[in-house]
């Protein structure tokens, strides 16, 4: 259990801007992101839009190459170019589940056609008949029963929840080692969310994969994961065991997220938010701590240098000088 499947060390991802006015500037989508993922662990990355959580997933899956830093998957460096064969192997081992269940499925293919592709691309099954068996098997696992009824259908004939089930089935079908799920439930109806989350947890157990769950919902992260990373404006603000991060949150941003989440129990007795404002521009991110312009506890030194990760408790770190 203690073996790391994935290690990120000081990873930066900067996107160059090409317009005339902005030439020479960069969008700082990820800065100094370091974390590791143990085998079989569920790690949640929580943050608002623009916090760099999707970029992190895209770097791990080699959709983007990092600008600086080190990404190692099962001890192997993921930088520079790979041969086509190695690239294919990496994509088989690291699968993604995308946010938009409507955009992620080819509308001109039937579910059967969509589900066969990974088996053919990764040469998992030799014969047509065994492909079909495997497709049926995985469709049953995600609750699309009876499978022959679904394989003939086109994506537009399915509901949002069913489409997301197809996406999840496709990700699990090639027996990957790591699954990156990028807000898999945020576009689904509320009544579907829990069953999709439970299904992902069950499949994760059954297939023994490691899981990175990206979300903006702190409560959902707590439900799904063993550990939580809180990201803000491209940097990790806090990382630690799920219960620790939520019950003993240290960073003011984590506390802000916590106080903003709806909670019927507290009702109107809740305290008003301590801070407003938006995520800063990632083209010229604030100097020092990226959260300092919004932080209610800001001190002079916060704008001067980026605070280092500080140990708060066991396996619990926060990027704050307080």
């Amino acid at each position: 259990m203690n073996e790391n499947i994935l290690v990120l060390e000081g990873v930066n991802k900067h996107f160059p801007l090409n317009s005339f006015r902005m030439r020479g500037k960069f969008v700082h989508a990820m800065d100094e992101v370091s974390f590791s993922l143990r085998k079989g662990e569920v790690l949640a990355i929580v943050g608002e839009s623009g916090s760099g959580k999707t970029t992190t997933a895209n770097v791990i899956s080699r959709i983007y190459r990092q600008t600086a830093g080190r990404v190692a998957f099962e001890g192997r460096e993921l930088s520079g170019s790979m041969s086509r064969k190695e690239e294919l192997k990496h994509h088989k081992r690291v699968q993604m589940i995308f946010q938009d269940p409507f955009g992620a499925l080819n509308p001109t293919r039937t579910v059967g056609g969509i589900m066969e592709r990974p088996f053919i691309i990764h040469r998992i099954a030799k014969e047509k008949r065994s492909v079909q068996e495997m497709v049926d098997n995985i469709l049953v696992q995600v609750g699309l029963e009876p499978p022959e009824q679904f394989t003939r259908k086109f994506p537009h004939e399915l509901s949002g929840g069913q489409r997301q089930r197809v996406n999840i089935a496709r990700a699990f079908s090639v027996e990957p080692d790591l699954i990156l799920a990028d807000e898999p439930t945020s576009m689904l109806d509320v009544s579907n969310r829990m069953s999709i989350m439970n299904m992902m947890l069950n499949l994760k157990e059954r297939h023994g994969v490691s899981f990175i769950y990206i979300t903006h919902d702190l409560a959902g992260a707590r439900y799904m994961s063993d550990r939580i990373i809180v990201m803000y404006a491209g940097m990790i603000m806090e990382i630690g065991p799920a219960e620790e991060v939520i019950n003993n949150s240290f960073h003011p941003y984590t506390r802000l997220l916590k106080s903003a989440a709806p909670s019927p129990e507290t009702g109107l007795k809740r305290n008003p938010l301590t801070t407003g404002g938006d995520i800063p521009s990632l083209i010229d991110p604030p100097s020092g701590c990226r959260f300092h312009p919004r932080c209610p506890f800001v001190r002079e030194s916060c704008s001067l240098e980026i605070p280092p990760m500080k140990k708060i408790g066991e396996n619990h770190y926060a990027r704050c000088i307080l």
Binding site: V190, N192, R193, R222, A260, P264
Partner: protein
């Protein structure tokens, strides 16, 4: 139909047995089917339900904005004693936006991309009142200040604003003629949690200051329970449970409401496996016989397949449409 007995408050909107929907080739889609509720002056009514349950159709019906094949088939909408259903388009124009306004679901698409925020706001004033350009500009700037947008943004175009700011402009636009009722159709769904919270706080603050009533439509029950006084849970075109939010939260009675309450993991307390609701909402063209929830209901009984339960009063502040609770005194 229950009446929340608070005689000191005056009733602003009374919706009675409203039926609205879409006429299509193969029949009539009952998007809003026999819906009744009351809204007091200054009240905050939350309507919760999944997509396709008819909540947006209900909002458009109240605004009389149903277009083309969508119609109100029956029932009444008494707004300060006037039945909105019977009004002509001319008469309705005098009420729409002046007395009842609306903040639409996606602020990104509801604002005109080629007009500045200021122009759009002054347009609203000019459409309803005879005022000079400078007066209109003053009013528009004032209302922008109300929603915490600096007046430098008066000449900005929508694409220059963040999602949260656009949504606040939408609210400013709904407020500009000082209406008595604002219908908000998922105003915060596309926003980040922190931005959502600031918008909600702003709405509550303005409501206290200006005294308008709100109908707030969303699928996020956890948010609604927290912010509204009265809650209506809609499923497949019908209100299945109705009452004070406190009572609904502490004692959800309808299996659908219970399922919804069980669909949001909590930040506090022990982590328990939650269920959600299996299955999907029915096709409103051919709704199931009997109770519309029965194919998904974990506590379905024989009677549920045969006849449809109506809203029945449990106590002063709570009513439910479910055979499990019919005639039963529930403590």
């Amino acid at each position: 139909m229950i009446q929340l007995e608070r005689p000191e408050k005056t009733r602003l909107l009374q919706c009675k047995n409203l039926v609205a929907g879409y006429r299509i080739k193969s029949g009539f889609v009952h998007a809003v089917d026999d819906v009744s509720f009351d809204l007091d002056k200054g009240g905050f009514l939350g309507i919760a339900g999944e997509s396709g349950c008819g909540k947006s159709t209900l909002a458009y019906a109240i605004m009389r904005l149903l277009k083309d094949n969508a119609t109100i088939e029956g029932g009444s909408l008494l707004f300060k004693g006037i039945d909105l259903v019977g009004l002509s388009e001319e008469q309705m124009k005098k009420i729409r936006w002046v007395d009842i306004s609306m903040a639409f679901q996606s602020a990104m698409n509801a604002l005109n991309p080629v007009l500045s925020v200021g122009e759009q706001l002054t347009d609203v004033i000019h459409a309803h009142e005879e005022v000079t350009q400078s007066d209109a500009r003053e009013r528009a700037k004032e209302v922008l200040k109300l929603v915490d947008i600096s007046t430098d943004r008066f000449n900005s175009y929508p694409h220059q604003l963040s999602g949260g700011m656009k949504q606040r402009v939408m609210i400013a636009m709904a407020l500009i003629l000082d209406p008595e009722l604002i219908i908000m159709d998922e105003p915060t769904t596309a926003l980040d949690v922190v931005v959502q919270r600031t918008i909600i706080e702003k709405i509550q603050e303005l409501r206290k200051a200006l005294g308008f009533s709100v109908i707030f439509i969303t699928h996020d029950l956890s948010l609604l329970v927290e912010i509204s006084d009265t809650l209506a849970i809609m499923y497949a075109g019908k209100i299945v449970e109705y009452g004070s939010s406190e009572s609904l939260f502490n004692r959800p009675l309808h299996p659908y409401t219970r399922g919804l309450m069980n669909s949001f993991p909590s930040l506090t307390g022990k982590i328990k496996r939650m269920g959600g609701i299996e299955g999907k909402p029915p096709d409103l063209l051919k709704p199931p016989e009997g109770c519309r929830f029965h194919p998904r209901c974990p506590q379905v009984m024989t009677i549920c397949r045969e006849s449809c339960p109506v809203l029945e009063r449990i106590d002063d502040r709570h009513s439910v449409a479910c055979f499990l609770h019919r005639g039963a005194e529930i403590l």
